[in-house]
């Protein structure tokens, strides 16, 4: 692989494009051609890049340009072309054709697609181009979320993959997760499975608090700073739909039915309620008559926004207390033994998360450490393997999964008792992801 001195970023005006360009310019000290639809948009991208990483020193290395005027020249002098244009074959394939014509042999070309087939996108290139074509799936915002899924396809050269992985890791400071060319790769497949199933369950329990109830059950003590439906609202319901629709179409695994987008999501999308970016979606912030901020949630049955109630769920209070005192096993014991609907739902989702994360080993990734790293650094969710330890080990976890009538992953069935199941302790302290 050539030394990466010059990079072209396509889609440099978006948050992800600008943030990624900043990483490459700052950590990689590369000159970056920042291309957008027009040069003014590219200039906006430069300002975003600088403020994302908080250093003006990268400014001289960021060069604005447009697709129409500058693409061929920029690509021809680049060592890496990083494409972040809209997530569809219709947009990406024509651009790839132009890149393929302009690129010099040995230039890496990668896409930040979160779900399209890398092999199909690589088809626009000649043999050398295919060899150097990858998915480099960064997470948003790139300076804070250090995950990069490095997606390979059958046409890649292992030596180039190794060098590119080292560059992403050692130079750009990414947590590199190697994944196969499978739908949504590792992070989004696991993450959006859980989010969409939470959305389905919210509908099922819409008369008991729906969206707000499910998020309350899946709060900090289950190893996440942001609850799953709040996350969907944050990323945008349209983005959520694009990912789960693709997964529903492209996968046929044991969780297949859980990728079906709930009807109320579609209803909200159709009327432009896409989440935080459009002001309302699953949630909405408002002010009470006395001027205080108030969070409302979407009541699915009533088709209206109502205040998020303060749920009084004793086992969650107790689990939170234990987490707050760094007693993680104690907290999971509370969850395991609690009675009632909310506890049943909590146990089901913990079991589902562990079961599904570990079931992808072999198909999507080579080791459980890869799914653990993906969830820990891409979503800030406590990795599945850490749950296994806190639940009391493989045997206890298998029992939880079996009771939830979910598949027991092979890697868990084969695990040895008495040995910590989580192996990334010195890389990622999973305890930090549990919130008390």
């Amino acid at each position: 692989m050539r030394e990466i001195k010059t990079v072209t970023v396509l889609g440099a005006n978006g948050t992800m494009g600008a943030g990624s360009a900043a990483i490459v310019a700052a950590f990689g000290k590369a000159k970056v051609h920042m291309l957008a639809r027009d040069v003014n948009k590219a200039k906006e991208g430069i300002e975003k890049a600088i403020s994302s990483i908080k250093t003006d020193t990268i400014r001289p290395r960021l060069i604005p340009g447009s697709y129409d005027q500058d693409l061929e020249k920029a690509v021809s002098e680049s060592d890496w072309v990083f494409e972040l244009v809209a997530e569809s074959y219709e947009v990406k394939e024509p651009i790839n054709k132009r890149i393929a014509k302009a690129r010099k042999p040995g230039t890496i070309v990668s896409t930040v697609s979160s779900g399209l087939s890398i092999a199909r996108l690589a088809d626009a290139f000649d043999e050398d181009g295919k060899k150097h074509y990858y998915g480099t799936h960064f997470f948003n915002p790139p300076y804070k979320m250090i995950l990069c899924e490095l997606v390979t396809h059958a046409g890649n050269d292992k030596k180039v993959t190794k060098k590119l992985g080292e560059y992403l890791d050692k130079t750009l400071g990414r947590a590199v997760v190697y994944t196969n060319d499978t739908p949504a790769f590792a992070g989004n497949r696991i993450g959006f499975q859980l989010i969409n199933e939470a959305a389905i369950k919210a509908e099922e329990y819409s008369d008991k608090g729906g969206i707000a109830l499910i998020d309350a059950i899946m709060s900090g003590y289950t190893g996440r700073a942001m609850a799953p439906l709040d996350t969907a609202d944050f990323v945008g319901l349209d983005v959520h739909k694009a990912i789960v629709d693709n997964l529903y179409e492209m996968t046929k695994d044991a969780a297949h039915s859980t990728f079906k987008l709930p009807g109320y999501f579609q209803k909200l999308i159709d009327r432009g309620d896409l989440g935080r970016k459009s002001g309302q979606g699953l949630y909405k912030m408002t002010k009470t008559p006395d001027g205080k901020k108030e969070k409302l949630y979407y009541d699915i049955k009533g088709d209206l926004f109502v205040p998020v109630p303060k749920f009084d769920i004793p086992f969650i209070k107790e689990a939170n207390r234990r987490i707050g005192e760094a007693d993680y096993i104690g907290a999971m014991n509370i969850v395991k033994e609690a009675k009632g609907l909310e506890a049943d739902i909590a146990r089901y989702f913990i079991a589902r998360y562990v079961s599904y994360s570990l079931s992808l080993v072999g198909e999507v990734v080579d080791s459980k450490e890869m799914t653990d790293l993906a969830m820990g650094t891409g979503f800030n969710w406590a990795p599945a393997s850490a749950f296994v330890d806190f639940l009391g080990g493989p045997k206890e976890t298998i029992s939880l999964i079996t009771k939830a009538k979910l598949p027991v992953p092979e890697v868990l069935a084969k695990a040895k008792a008495g040995k910590p199941f989580y192996q990334l302790k010195d890389i990622l302290d999973a305890r930090s992801l549990f919130k008390g």
């Binding site: 950590f27 250093t55 003006d56 020193t57 890389i427 302290d429 930090s432 549990f434 919130k435």
Partner: protein, 421 residues
Amino acid sequence: MKDAVYVLGGEQTDFQRNWTKEGKTFMSLFREAVQDGLEKVGLTPDEIKKLNKQNRIGVFVGNFDAEQYAVQGHLGAFLTEVDPCFFGVPGARYEAACASGSVALDAAQTKLRSKDYDVAIVVGMEIMKTVSSSVGGDFLGTAAYYDKEAKGVQFPFPKLFGKLADVLLERYKLDEKRYMGALAEISRINYANAKRNPKAQTRSWFMNNEHANSRGGEFNMAVGGRLAITDCSQVTDGAALVVLANKNYAEEFAKKKGTKLSAYPKIKGWGHRVAPITFEAKVAESKGDKWVLPWTRQTVKDAFDRSGLNTKDIDVFETHDCFTSSEYAAISAFGITQPGKEHEAIEDGVIDFHGKKPINPSGGLIGAGHPVGASGVRMMLDIYKQVTGTAGDYQVEGAKNGLMLNIGGSATTNYVFVVGK
């Protein structure tokens, strides 16, 4: 030093964590640090119970200001909350501002050398993100002479160490651009080193010489005279634990582990000196002296005298870079250069990770983080890792002897330990 004190190992918390954001208290920090540390060393609750029954073990807690940051005192007793095996174990808290960890280490080694106890568990801890940085800055002001140097001053310590930068510049008639460039390079090196340390606070943060040199702008605000944000260590939550033992127990422990006593490094020398507390008095006293911080230099010399070693014997240093100016002054205090020539060692790569005298391979306080009361213990742990070849990606090749300098206040309380096999 006749009676050897051995370092059996230890552990630190991930200094990137913000325990308040995690909804956890200082107690959780304490619990995780102690549980992880003892597990890493291999000291079990049953063994602690047995040692306690024989009155052979004590606990030494280094902490600066839990009263203000966490509204809690009496930390020496807090191990009893971690595990019942600590019921009855003698424990106390030791305080000397940013040198609190070292004063705890010193108390521990004294008890071991006198054979009052055979084993000492030393924990350093500070939780600091419970308050805003300006409120925390005021708390830290109590490490200076509060009424004279900190009361009503926003961020007093960057200002005090900014004054140190001024004095160094003036006293040695340095070229300002070259000198400030050297300070920026100290920052660059510490951040670069931190990238190899999986427990460092800034391991994913961006820094380079150009950015560190761009003082005064929107992204690198001036905070203390000549010093900008990139010249400062950060507010950090964290704890570290080491286990020390005298020969009585180290031999027993080695046998149990199926290893030799020589597998464990010893504290070969130490120094402890206190300079006048106000910075003004320090400067006035040192006029005419070769060193601007003569008591810091004296502390290093004391440790060398006690260990029978000298600068040439030290393969790795961990120093108190609360600010770039403090690391700058430490270079000549260690004897790496003559005073006033420190920038030459920086420019020539002498103190870089692959240099002849690497300083702060861990990232130091600027890169690894500075949970005030934990820093001394963290430094001891890092020197232990270096001389036992267990520092992983930040291992200095072939390190046999290491030296740590931990200071409290504006170089007021000075502590040095020399550790090696």
